[in-house]
């Protein structure tokens, strides 16, 4: 049986929350560069230039790519055969992850963006709690993906329970509408995660999971959904919103779709908007 030390988990979390916030992944930089080539607006191109320069500075100076260093969101693939060793006062896996967030956000001079109550709104002061999604998998795999999810893009996300008769067109119209009404608010160029199917809560989770796909801009393995992704990206980029919303060809860098079985009476769809500051990092133990 595989044994993983909770201290190792904490240390790895502490590292990824910092690295992800300082260093934009190569696949994201590549898509930004490719999209910049396609941008027709000179002002839009200038925005792309600044994003690339920003990424350089952040990496060199270990400075947040964005001041909103996000909620700390985790997707954990947890092998059923793993045992965790308590160490350093760490009693549970979720405690180890939260402790890693607490220490990483402090050490990296990252912003603490969590309030402890949605209405009374006092800052927790250490960016905890972490938002952890667990998935039990067979075997002894332990894979943790961290996403720093900013508020600006998250706030423009939407969910709708469509009637099955709305079909493909209903889905696509809803996605485009959501992006259109978000306009300049989520810091375009954006990345669009779409979850289709499941039920109310799983569709939202699918939309967020869609954002995890790497490399950015790669397509769904099912050609039917790969086509839908391409069609949606084209429609979105005809809107004209452009980089930062000041007008241009590139409103979105990529559209990723994830699907799941659903009820005979339902067609849920969720759209999770992500900004160009797509901070994502994975570790495995």
């Amino acid at each position: 049986m595989k044994v993983i030390s909770l201290k190792d988990v904490k240390e790895n979390v502490k590292n990824v929350v910092q690295k992800a916030n300082f260093e934009l992944n190569e696949d994201v930089i590549n898509v930004i560069k490719e999209s910049m080539e396609k941008e027709e607006s000179p002002e839009g191109k200038a925005v792309f230039d600044q994003l690339l320069e920003n990424a350089e500075i952040a990496r060199k100076e270990k400075l947040g790519l964005c001041q909103d260093t996000g909620l700390a969101v985790f997707f954990v693939e947890l092998g059923e055969e793993i045992q965790f060793k308590k160490e350093d006062g760490l009693e549970s896996l979720s405690q180890a992850i939260n402790e890693g967030v607490r220490e990483g956000y402090k050490e990296g001079y990252l912003r603490k963006s969590v309030v402890e109550d949605p209405l009374r709104r006092k800052n927790t002061g250490d960016n905890t709690p972490a938002f952890i999604h667990w998935e039990l998998v067979p075997g002894d795999k332990f894979k943790v993906t961290f996403m720093a999810k900013g508020g600006g893009a998250e706030n423009m996300s939407a969910i709708r329970m469509l009637a099955p008769a709305a079909g493909q067109k209903g889905i696509e119209d809803f996605v485009v509408e959501t992006v259109d009404s978000a306009g300049p608010n989520p810091c375009p160029p954006i990345i669009v995660g779409v979850g289709i199917g499941g039920n109310f809560e799983t569709s939202a989770l699918l939309a967020k999971k869609a954002l995890l796909r790497r490399p950015l801009g790669s397509h769904h393995s099912d050609p039917f959904y790969a086509d839908m992704e391409k069609r949606l990206l084209e429609r979105i980029n005809k809107l004209g919103i452009g980089p930062q919303g000041i007008g241009g060809r590139i409103t979105a860098l990529a559209v990723h779709i994830e699907v799941f079985p659903c009820h005979i009476a339902s067609l849920p769809v969720a759209v999770n908007i992500q900004c160009h500051s797509h901070r994502l990092l994975t570790f495995e133990l």
Partner: protein, 184 residues
Amino acid sequence: MAVWKLTTPLTDEDIEKLRIGDQVYITGTIYTGRDAAHKKLVELIEANKPLPFDVKGQIIYYVGPTPARPGKPVGSAGPTTSYRMDSYAPYLYALGIKATIGKGARSEEVKEALKKYKAVYLGAVGGAGALISKRIIKSEIVAYPELGPEAIRKMEVKDFPVIVINDMYGGDLFLEGKKKYHVE
């Protein structure tokens, strides 16, 4: 589209020459504030109490920076989404704030306030907080330190780059820009 260099505090004449799409470089003092600070400021205004800083001719930058590393004036410091301050902004424009800096679109009420009080809304590049921080020379908390990242800061900036999104003539760069590149 013109390029301007402006020094704070701003005057009516400064605002009158600005049109949507103009590039502006700001030098001087600006103040920061987000949701929580705005709520407190408007509570003071409604209670007829003095504000923690003189707002006449000033600029408010919607930002909550990351903590500064030792020896640095500020951390990453890009704009936050402005619509969350829409319900508060007209109060501050009425008292003499000449410009706000943020990202994203403003409400009709804010655009009306810009016309009425001769003011502008300026856009900084969202998600370029590391780059923008290079134009901030000094930063100190002047009110509500208990709000952490949301405290009001006084910043010294040099050639801080912004674009005019909404001018005092009712212009809106987001609407105009989108029209230009929209394809049916």
